[in-house]
Every structure is written in structure tokens, then in C-alpha cells.
Symmetry: C2
Subunit: 159 residues, 2 copies
């Protein structure tokens, strides 16, 4: 689980995180190598699990998902089985993009993305209200998403 990534690995990952479609040939040229080492390094990073998956990101506005809401949720019963089934139920909801178990005033932070306010209202009334163990919720509506990146900046200087 502790992998040592050298400078070349990090350079590959920094590029692949921004453009997963780049060819190994183009990558090789950028890094001053031939395709073989690039190809084998990428395969190693995939087998290692460092590279988790390749995805395409859609523009939410173009597929009618203009509303993002962060829901802070506190639950009643904090036992493992109760928390576990709460998570299972939330996970299964398609519009729920992210679920974080957090420490602080609330127990969970949940990000949902949907068409509009009307869809959100239906979600709260039909889905959320049917999920057990919820004590209190607070919705934070997103006015604008000013940064969203899935790419980590892997530093080439410090370890």
C-alpha cells in the first residue's frame, strides 16, 4: 500500500489527471522517453490501485442538473448498524453524488445534484423522509461552483 512514485510517475499522473485521453506516444514525447516505459508505468500504477479509474466528466448544466445542494444531517442513533444502514440507503439514491461522515455539529454531509428546486423538494419529501434514523437536516444551496477539480497536484520537489 506504500508505493514509491518517482518523478516520472508523478509527471505521468499529473498529466493523466487532466487528460486521460492522451496517447502513450504523446506522453512519451512530453517526458522525453519512448512508449514502452510509459506504457509499463501506467500499467503498474493501475495494478497498484494508484490509478483508480478513468472517467469522463459531463457538464452538469448541459444534462439538466443545475441545482447542487449540500445537506448536513444529524442522526438519532449512532450505533454501527444504524449508521451503516443509513449510509446504505443514502448510497442507493442516484442523485446523491457524495456522502461524508464528518465530525462536528452534524454527522453527515451529503452532496446532491438535480434538475431544479422542484426536484429537490420531491427528493426531500419522497426519499429523505423515508430514510430512517434522521434527526435533523439543514440544506445549503449552491449559488455557484467556483472550483471543482479531481486532480491532485503531485509535487515533484518535496516527497
Amino acid at each position: 500500500m506504500a508505493f514509491t512514485l518517482d518523478t516520472v510517475d508523478k509527471k505521468i499522473l499529473n498529466i493523466l489527471q487532466k487528460d486521460a485521453r492522451i496517447t502513450t506516444k504523446a506522453l512519451a514525447e512530453k517526458l522525453g522517453l519512448t512508449t514502452t516505459p510509459i506504457f509499463e508505468r501506467i500499467r503498474r500504477l493501475e495494478k497498484n490501485g494508484v490509478i483508480h479509474k478513468y472517467v469522463c466528466l459531463l457538464n452538469p448544466k448541459h444534462i439538466d442538473r443545475k441545482l447542487t445542494v449540500f445537506i448536513s444531517i444529524s442522526i438519532k442513533n449512532h450505533g454501527v448498524t444504524y449508521v451503516g444502514s443509513f449510509i446504505k440507503e443514502m448510497e442507493a439514491v442516484p442523485d446523491v453524488m457524495e456522502i461524508y461522515h464528518i465530525g462536528g455539529n452534524y454527522d453527515f454531509l451529503v452532496k446532491v445534484m438535480m434538475r431544479d428546486m422542484e426536484a429537490y423538494q420531491k427528493f426531500v419529501l419522497n426519499k429523505l423522509s423515508n430514510i430512517g434514523n434522521i434527526d435533523h437536516i439543514q440544506s445549503s444551496f449552491v449559488l455557484s461552483n467556483d472550483k471543482f477539480t479531481t486532480a491532485f497536484e503531485l509535487s515533484l520537489t518535496n516527497p
Copy 2:
């Protein structure tokens, strides 16, 4: 900006959102078509901006980013220029993955991912404290990330 996606488009997007590396040939076989229509549909979706980009997702734990923190921030001056420069400054910080302008008790919700608590402390002391216009912050530490997906479920039945 209003694009009509038919069933085939949606099927393509649903698959590409989970596996951006699939070949057009494999995609074609899955959908019972030949490569040409798949290739041209994907190109159209890219040109449209429906497909925003292709990225690879890394496993945060494998690259030493074990701590996620959501920071709720309220600011002092809510004028456009002040808010604008606050966003610019935050955007530039590498460990800041997401910035949301929200309505409610706080003005912004910011997601940061870093090595550990010590790194977070340094971030607060050296970065956050140097950013102007901040009134109050509240950190929510993530205990576990129970769901994280970038893929929207495009329904094939209802529009």
C-alpha cells in the same frame, strides 16, 4: 446550449462516465451498432460541451492525501469585487479541490484534501490566514468518505 440527447447518447454517456477507456468498438458492440455512429456521437458530445473532459481518478490514500476537510467560511465584505478576489485567491491554492458559493449561515463551502492534520494546520496558519476578507471559519473533518461519484445517472425512460 439545449441539446437533445437520445437514448443512444445517454447510454454512451452512462458508460463513458464509468469507464472512459472503453474502445468505440466495445461500446458499439454493447449498443448493437457499428463504430462509426458511436465515434461520431461521441465527437458531437465533445463539441457540444456535454462531455467536458476525460480524467483519471487517483486513490487519495495511495498518494498520501488521507485528510479531507470541509471548511465553511463567512466573509466580511460581500461586494462583487471583494468576493471575486476571495475566490481567485482560494482557487489558486493547490490543495483546495472544490469551492462553492452557498446561501445560508456561511458564504462558502470549501473542500480541501491533504496529507494529515499537521498539513492542515499549516494550511490554516500560512494560507488561509493570509487571505483577506474572511470573517469566520468552521472546519468539518471527514471521518470517512462513503460515496464519491462523478457519474450522473441519465435516465433512459423519462426525458
